[in-house]
Point group: C2
C-alpha cells in the first residue's frame, strides 16, 4: 500500500512566514510560523525560509511529495521567481525555487498567493463544483486568481488575475499603481479606512465613533463590521458600497470572460453576508442578460488557513 | 499530390450575407453577397444562407474541406446555435449548424463574428506573431475576441470577449445593455455620433459642420476623420478621446489577463494612426508597470474581407 502523500505549504508574508503540512484532501496536519525578518533583508528572509522548511520536514516523519510556495507580488511560476513583493522592502527579483531546490530533493512549485488560494478553493473549498471562477481577496490589496476550465490562468508573463486593478472609473481615485479608479483604490484596506475617516465627521451618530472612542487611528474593518452587526446605518452603508464597488469591477470581469461564479476571501470579506449580497446584486444589475441569471457569489472556505492550504495545493495541482 | 484545400466562409450580417472561398493561406478566391432579407424573418434568412452556400459550391470546382460561419450576437460554437442576433429582428435561438449540416456533407464551424475575426487575424493577419492578444472591433457595437495561448477563449457558455461591456465608469453613460459606463456607450458608432451632435454647437468653427452642411444627420465617423485629416482641432480631439475611452477599458483587460497586444478593427478604426496612438498612450499610462513596456497596439489587417476570411479561418483553425 502506498504511504499517504502530504505536501509542505509555505506562505511568504510580510508579517509571517507560515509553514504547514497538508494532506491530499486539504487537511492541515501540522503548522507553524516564523515572524518575517523584513529588516534583515531578502537574504535573511530566504534563510528563514530554508530553515523553516528544514525544521518542518524533520519534525514530521511524513511522506512529503513536494513543496508549494505562495508569495505576494509578481511571481513567475514558470521561472520560479518572486519580483518586488510589496510587503518585503529591498527584495527585487529572486529565484526562490532555484534556491530552495538546492537544499531539498523535492519538486517545488511557486505561485502568487492569490493564485494559490484560488487553486486551494478549487481543490478543497468553495470552487469544487465550478468549471471557471474568479477568486477575489479583499485585504490591504485586492488580489485575484482566475480559474478557467479548472486551470489557473497565468497569462503570458504570469501576471494575470489583477482584479484589483480593474478600473471602475477612468477619472476616479488615484491608485498606488499610478492609474485612476482601480477598485483597490476604493476597497483596499487603507484606502477604505481613508474614505471612512474623511466621511466620519458627517456621521456623528454612528456607532463607529463610539467603538473607536473618536480616535480614527483605531479604525479597522472589524470595527465597522461590529457597528454594522449592531445595525449602525452608516456602517451598513459602507459595507454595501464596498460590495457595489467590487461588483462593478467584477461585472466587467464577468462580461469579458463569461465567468458567473465569484469567491470572495481576504480580511475585508469578514463583512460577511451583507457584503456578498451587495456584490451579487450589483453583478446582477450590471452584467449582460445572458449571464445575469447564472451569477453566484460565495465566501471563500479556506479562511485563516488559505495561505498554507493554498500553497500546499500547488503540489497536488501540479503533480 | 493532395489537392489544395479551401474553406467556404459565410458572414451573416444584418445588411448582407457575405460568402467566399478562401485558401489555407487566407487568400479570397471567390466572393459574393446576398442582401439579407430581414423582413422575411429568420426562416427566409436561413434559406438564403443555404441557397448561397449551394451556389457558391457549385460555381467553384474546388476542394472545399469545410464551411465556417460567423454571426453577430450570442453564438455557441459548441452547440451550433445563434441566439438573438441584434441585427436580425425576430430571430431567437436557431441551431444554424444543424440546419446547414443536413444539406451539405461537410464539417461546419460557427462562431461569433468578432471571435472569427480574431482567429482570422491570428492565422493570417496582425496577430500572427502574438501568443495572446485581444481583437477589438469598433463599429455600431464594440466587439471583442480573446486569443489566449493561440486559442480563442469562449468561456463556459461561449459568451466571452465582450470587451464593449467593460465599464469605464460605474456611474457613467447608460448602455443599451442596461449597465452604466460600458465603453460601447462612449465609442459605439451611434453613441459617439450622439455625443458629437450634442457638442457640435460648442464648436462652431469646426470643419465638421461645413462638411455636413450643418445637418447633423449626415454625421459619420468618416466625416470626422475627413475633418481630422485636414487638421480640425475638434475632430482630432474626438478621435483622441475615443482612443482614451478604448484604452481605459483595455487597461482593465490587460491587467486582468496579462495581455499586452491589441488589434483594433471595425469601421470606427478608420480613424487610423491618431486613434491607435491615443489607445496606446492611454494603455501605457494606465496598466501595471510590469506590462507597460510591452504594450503593442496594431490595426487589424483583415479589413473589408474580415467577415469572409474570419469565418473561413474557423475551418482551418478547427480542422
Amino acid at each position: 500500500m502506498d504511504k499517504e502523500k502530504y505536501a509542505l505549504g509555505v506562505d511568504i508574508g510580510g508579517t509571517n512566514i507560515k509553514l504547514g503540512i497538508v494532506s491530499g484532501t486539504g487537511k492541515i496536519i501540522f503548522n507553524t510560523l516564523v515572524p518575517t525578518n523584513r529588516e534583515g533583508g531578502p537574504d535573511e528572509v530566504m534563510s528563514q525560509l530554508k530553515k523553516g522548511i528544514k525544521e518542518t520536514i524533520s519534525q514530521n516523519e511524513l511522506n512529503i511529495v513536494g513543496i508549494g510556495i505562495g508569495a505576494a507580488g509578481s511571481v513567475s511560476s514558470k521561472k520560479g521567481t518572486v519580483s518586488y513583493p510589496p510587503n518585503i522592502p529591498g527584495w527585487d527579483v529572486i529565484n526562490v525555487v532555484d534556491i530552495i531546490k538546492n537544499e531539498f530533493n523535492l519538486p517545488i512549485f511557486i505561485d502568487n498567493d492569490a493564485n494559490a488560494a484560488a487553486i486551494g478553493e478549487m481543490l478543497y473549498g468553495a470552487g469544487k463544483e465550478f468549471n471557471s471562477f474568479a477568486l477575489v481577496t479583499l485585504g490591504t490589496g485586492v488580489g485575484g486568481g482566475l480559474i478557467l476550465n479548472r486551470k489557473i490562468f497565468h497569462g503570458d508573463f504570469g501576471a494575470a488575475g489583477e482584479i484589483g486593478h480593474t478600473s471602475i472609473d477612468y477619472n476616479g481615485r488615484l491608485c498606488n499603481c499610478g492609474s485612476k479608479g482601480c477598485v483597490e483604490a476604493y476597497v483596499g484596506n487603507h484606502y477604505l479606512m481613508d474614505i471612512v475617516k474623511e466621511e466620519l465627521p458627517k456621521h456623528r451618530d454612528s456607532e463607529i465613533l463610539k467603538l473607536i472612542d473618536n480616535n480614527t487611528d483605531l479604525l479597522t474593518p472589524k470595527i465597522i463590521n461590529g457597528a454594522a452587526i449592531n445595525g449602525d446605518e452608516y456602517a451598513l452603508f459602507i459595507i454595501e458600497r464596498v460590495g457595489f464597488y467590487v461588483g462593478s469591477a467584477l461585472s466587467s470581469v464577468s462580461n469579458l470572460l463569461d465567468i458567473d461564479s465569484f469567491i470572495i476571501g481576504g480580511g475585508v470579506s469578514a463583512f460577511g453576508q451583507p457584503l456578498l449580497i451587495s456584490i451579487k446584486r450589483t453583478l446582477e444589475d450590471k452584467v449582460l442578460k445572458t449571464i445575469k441569471h447564472r451569477i453566484k457569489v460565495f465566501p471563500a472556505q479556506l479562511k485563516n488557513e488559505a495561505g498554507i492550504v493554498g500553497s500546499s495545493s500547488l503540489v497536488f495541482y501540479n503533480l
